[in-house]
Subunit: 298 residues, 6 copies
């Protein structure tokens, strides 16, 4: 889970876009605190993710805000279900609603789409991986949402796994040399993965001594041929498939016997799921206890 | 267009996620600059947006980098077309590729989906509007992409238009009072819009003297009934429809004679379009002229 | 009101200028917490504004600090009156005094000067507006102080109202064309205002179909002539006067029948009002309860 | 002079307030670069300060922008004089005009008011000092403007001079003890100044062995009495007067034979001076050479 | 002591390096809070410093974390002694351990090495000073650690003392002229120190009227000769020695009768002292009370 | 190598500590640019690292500054050798000298100490690794300096390798369970390392199926016994030794046949090496060509 200080940075970034010059509607309507309750309502079936970021948004606006979670991270909820209940100053709920929902709808969207891919490969040995095709600034949170959906995380940045991809190969002199050159700079902690677009490149990758091979944009027939060769010649090498994966073909790919299938769309194209915040006036207003005990007697 | 200093902030945010501990693959393979060219290739039909942000990513990595734009902002390109050509240090192109494409594929995705909605309402008087349902941190850029797609921008933040929405009404005492209360705090610059979910609320909104009415989640029949009443009773009031709009129903809504249709999905659920960067080795390496003329003679 | 996270950013910016290397006087004199009380004393008549920012400064230095407000935002207080009372660690009060008073004296100064302009036009229909002539970094707070003084806010930034000013007209081809060009890019949310320096420009502005006209640096006679024409030809257009307004002439301008008078000096030249913080030793020192319950037994 | 990287921080802070969502007027009117020239016109007599910050604002918007300075920092200019000439993309000039002038009008205002105080004490040995009563975030620049006006800088922050002020004395046990306590913690670099409100406190301050004494809010008679005693008993001690200084009494204070007179109003209440930027269209538009040589051929 | 908001900035900077993508080991092992206690164990003799920064690291990860200090700032502890005890969510202790110890081991290292120099000059009148040779970003904390060790602080930045050093003299025209030129720009608050590498420069420095002279990289004989001259000709001038000072020669230098000895190595080369954090499982897990009272019932 | 935008962040952080209120000595002495040259002189034998950060400091102060590198990154230089030559505005060289040298002396210190360890194990198969015991904010640069010294990088943060350390084991239930629990959450990219303090723990670690074992604080005899067992039972497992390593014992440890030896002191306790910047006046001053072509004619 992301740490509190990182969540605050993200929440402030979102709030700054909306509140740089205040919420003039809410300020005009409600000059004083107004006690309110709200239901966080799933309007379609979804997998929950991003609740801590959602909560952080409101906490920054009303430190005494309370959030009761009914359906936790990684769980499924049906249309009409209540994810959680909010209690606090209605002005904070109005001001933070859009920003908090923008985060939540996107992250639940990522978890929900991931879950669909995970279910599509159930029963095979294949795991669904994310990619680095993430929304700038949200990578850590999106990758956590992938975990909530049942997927696994591929590398987080350009420093935590060696990947020799098509453009590296285009600029370098062959796969075998590239693997040797990178191996020489490494200590023990990092594995090396090679991207292969053709059966010929698969053969070179096997020869290179890399720990993983990614089969990129291959047909089912090519994948099967490659898997057979790798399992025979380099049984310790892990096999990833990538490129052009969608819900319609992921099951066939998984049944080729690969270890991992990486899917860019679960982060870069996950549609926001429909969630709404339904507020009700919580009766007579009550004073919000300030952290600093300021008392207005003027 | 976003100003250079804002683009740099966004580009650095994306690069920091990928390069906090360097690109260990590229550094291992290419210890010295390597001249490279790259084609920015559209792999599906799309509308171009976000080129200045794309370019900023690489400029931060290689100040002498050049970018020749072949298809400009707001233009359509077919699958297989070349959006632009890049020339620079191949190491910068490898390091920035994923971050730059993440921005570009998302922003072109927003412009492309917007264009589809715009085309669906062509010939009616209705304009397609965006919403505040944007990716946190990217609002200014996404709204620019909506313009590139032919749409128009709704409000940018909570301070540049008064909108009295369902949750405001739930906490306040009626639409008419709410409009009066906000009107009293305003100077001349801001208009007031009221969200109406029912025909009864439309009548109250007309009575309130607001400048705009948003019909929220109404059926085609309700929209027609509401438009007729507004046009008759308050001909200066502008009419927006929102909620549940998709490519399958937007044309029918537009033909109800409304002024604006706001569509959250063009920002929050636009799928990334497929764009790739195809690099080629540009012959023998040449020294990159440093801004500071440092010369390595050791 | 500005949100807590924005107030913290401003307060930290001020504190960083003073405390980057600590308060060496206070640290040398008071190695341990010292209970103290302080009166926030108005030394001249003033209108109160900026109390939340004032309070935030001390809360960052002593989370258990208490502030009792006696005269609230927007209220007038006479010389010798007590605005509020502070209780907390005397060291925090000493360290934050200058920064907190710098904010408070400036923002009360803005509110106080605004109030004088508002009183000068009382009984006419004219409203006093602020401008974008604000201290960099303090715009949101200064505009809130204008509200406290009884004024109204003009636009906040270059994106929330179209204003076609003298330099736009100098670079473009005529007022009518300029209004048409900007109108074509807008959705419904934004109004258009045109700045007119001459009676001829007023006629062009009327013809352009803009929603507001600003009469810039005109004589009383020119203002009257312009108002007469606008009211006759374009009764829905709102009229603003700007340029060279001071307390000696604002009443005469208001009586010309204009809607708004914008005054740069209420933000850019408001003198700081005189407020002092009078501390008293609150008897024997008592331990400050730490948020984290650290206990020093060494 | 402030370093470039600090100027950029300030300029970006100002620009962010105005351009967070773009300049919609300028973008609508001028989709392409438009060559422009501008005169920076003094509309009242003033002392020049802040030119480097003024210039930085435009450089961030148009890196090829040129600024020809005609009247340099610290010089006086009469009403109607031209401070400098700007050449660049007219869109950048329009977008940055307000932010750049906000900085410039304030900093020239500080320098101009300082100069008036300096001239009022000419011929005496007294120097005019600033205080820490500055606009938050602008302290370094305001103190540089004081130098441009002919004044001198008092301490910059709470760590570069020991000052034992009224509130310190109120919480501590006597001036002599306070000076001794702080002296014990110091190395050689810092002097100690004591604030004295009464003649009795002056005697204690002399006894304490401090290097400087500030006479706070004393009458002319009290100042003379105190100066006489200090010069006799502690001839090496420097004497500062503070509190209630204005242009009407500063000369009388200076003639009491003091070394320094500190004046809060030269920073916290200096009115903005009137400066305007007069743009002219510089003939046919010409392409702005981009730093990155992007070429738009679409 | 550094203020809380500055400590948070430093602590977040350290945590961001370690936790940008989470602590995958701890998250995998402990999905729920686990009550833990820890002893902060000195594994060699040391002087304590940096406890507030150490504590801030954990408070950012677990707001309910408690820290009981057994040996306070500036005190000595022997090998095997317990500096303090931590109680909190074991996950926060695991995540923050390395970052908090990195700060603590370095700052205690600075205090410990300073103490050795202070003890070496005990009985002479010489004080040990730090320099500006600090780790970037840590200057304020390192200088506080020097105080804990019994040393004194030299200047903090380039604005709080005039120092005319070798490279200034190389570019300017003589020491006497340089002192006069800087003196003319100063108010009362700043002293002037001159660096002298030769006996000839000492004579020029005395003639210049500066308040302090630093004898740079001189032999014991040169120091004695210089001290004799300065004490005779300019008895008010303070004398600092700098350059090449180590524990083996500092006592001899001190006995030359100098006022100050500045030692770069106490900040730039202080070895980290050995401190470890020994955790124990505190029995059955208990729920951590959240600040926002979120309750997970899913 | 660290990217330019990261180097700028670090360089600005260092400069801000020194120049927040300007360099008053340099500004007083040199009101105009002064052409200068400087030699960067090694005053003891060292290994070069950190040149790009050193250069960035000056580029931020004088964009036209030139740096000619004579001895490149990773190379050795003897006492008296010239690392590089600087040409630029002498004022920028004076202002940036201390900050630039602070970075350079520390990073060269890290590379130099690393090289000594590397040489001590030459001829064995052991590689020297760094740790996460780094100066907060400098981790990426210090780890690059380790590479320059001939060492290798251990993990960068808590997310790029699973390490089950003593405190994890103390809070969890056994090594075998801990490895299984973490394994279940991982995709392919991460290896798992277990820290073993005893021979019994080595046996458990072998049984756990981890990829690496770290022998922590063992005697030479224990190391030999552990290596023998691991090589026999788990020949694919890599062996790291850590704890208490210094130049006096590292060779003996290496000869035990281990793969890696990690040494905290190469980052947390590397003494700064002695480097100085010797400036000379470069003859008559010449104007510095400004990036923005401002011309001062006043």
């Amino acid at each position: 889970m992301a740490e509190p200080f990182l969540l605050e940075t993200l929440a402030k970034r979102g709030l700054a876009e909306d509140l740089i010059y205040g919420d003039r509607t809410t300020s005009a309507l409600f000059p004083r605190p107004i006690a309110a309750k709200g239901d966080l309502l799933a309007k379609e079936p979804l997998v929950v993710a991003g609740l801590d970021l959602f909560q952080t948004v409101f906490s920054l606006l009303d430190p005494s805000f309370q959030f009761e979670i009914l359906v936790g991270q990684g769980q499924e909820i049906q249309a009409g279900g209540i994810i959680g209940r909010l209690i606090g100053d209605g002005r904070a709920l109005l001001k933070g609603e859009r920003v908090a929902l923008n985060f939540l709808q996107h992250l639940c969207g990522v978890a929900t789409l991931t879950r669909k891919f995970v279910q599509a490969v159930a029963g095979t040995g294949a795991k669904i991986l994310d990619t680095r095709k993430t929304q700038p600034g949200l990578r850590a949170l999106e990758k956590e949402a992938v975990l909530m959906g049942g997927g696994y995380n591929h590398r987080f940045h350009l420093g935590d796994l060696i990947m020799i991809k098509d453009n590296h190969i285009a600029l370098a002199k062959g796969i075998v040399n590239a693997v040797a050159a990178t191996r020489a700079t490494l200590s023990h902690a990092l594995k090396i993965e090679v991207e292969a677009k053709t059966f010929q490149q698969v053969k070179e990758a096997i020869q290179s001594g890399c720990e993983m091979i990614m089969l990129d944009n291959m047909s089912i027939a090519e994948i099967k041929q490659s898997v057979a060769l790798i399992r025979k010649k380099a049984p310790d090498v892990q096999i990833e498939v990538s490129g052009g994966i969608h819900l319609g073909n992921v099951s066939n790919v998984a049944r080729c016997g690969v270890d991992f299938i990486s899917v860019g769309s679960i982060t870069h194209s996950a549609p926001a799921v429909d969630i709404s915040l339904e507020l009700i006036n919580n009766g007579p207003t009550r004073p919000r206890p300030s952290k600093n005990k300021s008392r207005h007697t003027g």
